[in-house]
């Protein structure tokens, strides 16, 4: 018995070690962002919020933030819609060339972003679609669709296939069944897909660097700052983005939890 307990503690301890490893760079980043000196070493010689003031007052950073936000929202909406449509098609239909269709849907993440960015730039510049924010959106959607599709397809797999046909039998046409059965059922995964694709787009910098040209998203700005202006500005940006997205995630969690507690009885009944 006590051996069991010991093993359980060891395993939990290992999990904490793993978490610690994951958080080391994030903690360092936070600490460095308050460095008074440009080339910080630990321990810091003092405390300063100067880098935060700098990034807020330097036009390129807020501009890039705005670009990232815009691109992120549009990418999330488009790729979630396409991902949903593809997941539903996969769920409901069997057709010739379906394997190819699924490969189209799932292959992009297996291609390194460096190459995807390169290829996109070469191709989009041939057709004069390069160097604007929409170029970033076009490319990011390609990359994000698989994430959205995977999430929604997983949810659809949990659906009782009889539900949709039951709706048809009750006289609903396909569109109505979609609206009243499929969409409500997949709604949690749709929200998850929106959040995830937005996050992926928001953090992706290589594709955006290649196809964006003069239009910089936030991570591309970070890349530029990192390459040239080595300074804790990068850490300050990292911390701000982290804090904002964390607050959003926590907010979403709280919303989900309060909603879930309402529906808990059904879930509990299933168990």
């Amino acid at each position: 018995m006590s051996a069991d307990r010991l093993i359980a503690y060891a395993l939990r301890g290992w999990f904490l070690v793993a978490l610690f490893f994951i958080f080391v760079p994030i903690i360092i980043n936070f600490i460095y962002s308050f460095s008074p000196s440009r080339f910080p070493t630990l321990p810091l010689g003092g405390f300063s919020t100067g880098w935060y003031e700098l990034i807020l007052n330097e036009a390129p950073v807020p501009r890039a933030f705005g670009n990232s936000l815009k691109a992120g929202v549009i990418v999330a909406v488009i790729s979630t819609f396409i991902g949903f449509a593809a997941a539903y098609t996969d769920y409901r239909y069997r057709f010739l060339g379906k394997n190819f269709y699924l490969a189209l849907a799932l292959l992009p993440p297996t291609i390194p972003v460096l190459i995807l960015g390169l290829v996109m730039l070469m191709f989009l510049s041939r057709v004069s679609l390069v160097g604007e924010l929409y170029s970033v959106v076009l490319a990011h959607v390609v990359y994000c669709i698989p994430f959205a599709m995977a999430l929604i397809r997983l949810r659809l797999a949990q659906m009782n296939p009889d539900l949709e046909s039951a709706a048809w039998n009750l006289g609903a046409n396909s569109w109505r069944a979609m609206r009243e059965v499929i969409v409500p059922f997949t709604l949690p995964s749709i929200f998850a897909a929106l959040a995830l694709t937005m996050a992926v787009s928001f953090d992706e910098y290589l594709i955006a660097f290649f196809v964006g040209g003069l239009t910089e998203t936030l991570p591309v700005r970070v890349l530029a700052l990192l390459q040239g202006q080595v300074s804790p500005r990068i850490n300050a940006i990292g911390s701000v983005v982290f804090t904002i997205s964390m607050s959003l995630v926590i907010l979403a969690q709280i919303l989900l939890l309060t909603r879930r507690s309402g529906g808990r009885s059904i879930a509990a009944g299933g168990k």
Binding site: S37, V127, S128, L129, V130, L133, Y134, A224, V230, S231
Partner: protein, 381 residues
């Protein structure tokens, strides 16, 4: 204008319209967004600037932006080849003003990427004489680029471990106490250039094949000393945290910032000679805002712009405008001392006069490919 654009574009390039016809599904979306985007672009008063990191930073361009009610949109690159790659991969006219290293000016001219400039537009009379008719900027008597700033490349070293006396020859890089501690700036041109000087080549980039073979051996023999191949942020980190104690192929533009923060690093130009880098401004052929672009170059090469460029936060550089020196000595005397821009003591122009400094240039007798191939093999050893 249109004709020139047409024949410069590879024939493979489809027109936007043709392409959109082909992909009906995406058409509506793209057309809509590109239309609105174009309107927004022309309404916004902007000037695009292809440059090394930091040249488009607010502390450099803000006065110009305010005076002309315009926004500078910088696109930053590291290394001349990266610049050529970017400019060749972009639509003509994407960049209004191009900042490049001297050696690429002739290539850009040959590719029809930059315009001839009128010397009377710029204050060459205020420049040090050495910079008034600088080779590489004037091609066949025509001006294609105005020099903005410059600096020297030699041995960068940690002064706690390597004294300036030791660093007075590139030989120090092979010193046993630097084994595994020599950093390499990951750009073949300056890094190999300095080593070519170590081999005794007076013009380090204009060497025959025998000398080039010897340079290859010299480069490869440095491998056991190498800590790593570094980009700019890696160099700062390595010098700061002791992962690298010496470099060749970089200079003051790195060490001034670090020593200002108290790190024991400095640049020494060895007796075998150092290399000079220059950054210069050109007008893009297809730029839509030629007048504004010209004004911007005038601003950057006038005294105030010069001081701001010299002391920009990404890296400091020496400046060619004597009136810029005067202004710096007036308003930023400490910085003028650090940059050795004082008239009353030994300054950067004296080193120039000593004949220790060679202009950096592209390989003369071999191709870029040959040189970078050696560098790639070196990295893979």
């Amino acid at each position: 204008m249109t004709a020139r654009k047409a024949d410069k574009k590879p024939t493979w390039r489809l027109t936007r319209r043709k392409f959109l016809k082909g992909s009906a599904a995406a058409a509506a979306l793209i057309a809509a967004s590109s239309a609105t985007r174009r309107v927004a672009w022309s309404e916004e008063n902007t000037l695009s600037y292809l440059c090394w990191p930091g040249h488009g930073a607010p502390e450099v361009v803000e006065p110009f932006e305010q005076a002309n009610n315009v926004k500078i949109i910088p696109k930053e690159y590291v290394g001349g080849e990266a610049m050529m790659a970017l400019i060749n991969q972009s639509d003509p006219g994407t960049y209004d003003v191009v900042l490049s290293d001297r050696e690429y000016i002739v290539m850009m001219r040959d590719a029809g990427l930059i315009d001839e400039m009128d010397p009377n537009d710029y204050a060459f009379d205020d420049f040090w004489p050495e910079f008034q008719k600088m080779p590489g900027h004037w091609l066949n008597g025509k001006l294609y680029s105005v020099v903005l700033d410059f600096g020297y490349l030699g041995v960068v070293h940690n002064t706690d471990v390597i004294s300036e006396k030791e660093a007075s020859s590139y030989k120090v890089l092979w010193d046993p106490k630097l084994t595994g501690k020599v950093g390499q700036f990951d750009w073949y041109l300056p890094s190999m250039g300095n080593l070519s000087q170590y081999n005794g080549n007076k013009s380090p980039f204009d060497i025959d094949d025998a000398a080039f073979a010897k340079l290859r051996d010299t480069v490869f023999s440095l491998k056991p000393q190498v800590a790593g191949y570094h980009g700019i942020p890696d160099i700062f980190n390595a010098l700061k945290n002791g992962d690298a104690l010496a470099y060749q192929g970089i200079g003051d533009w790195i060490t001034i910032l670090l020593s200002a923060e108290g790190y024991p690093v400095t640049t020494t130009i060895p007796d075998e000679g150092g290399i000079q880098w220059t950054e210069s401004l050109s007008l893009s052929t297809d730029g839509k805002k030629q007048d504004l672009a010209k004004k911007f170059i005038q601003y950057l090469t006038a005294p105030e712009g010069q001081v701001r460029v010299a002391l920009k936060s990404s890296y400091w550089g020496s400046i060619p405008n004597k009136k810029g020196w005067t202004l710096m000595n007036d308003i930023k005397p400490n910085e003028a001392t650090i940059l050795r821009h004082r008239f009353d003591q030994r300054n950067v122009m004296d080193e120039y006069a000593d004949g220790k400094i060679t202009l950096r240039q592209l390989p003369e007798q071999q191709s870029i490919d040959d040189w970078s191939e050696v560098w790639n093999e070196y990295k893979n050893l």
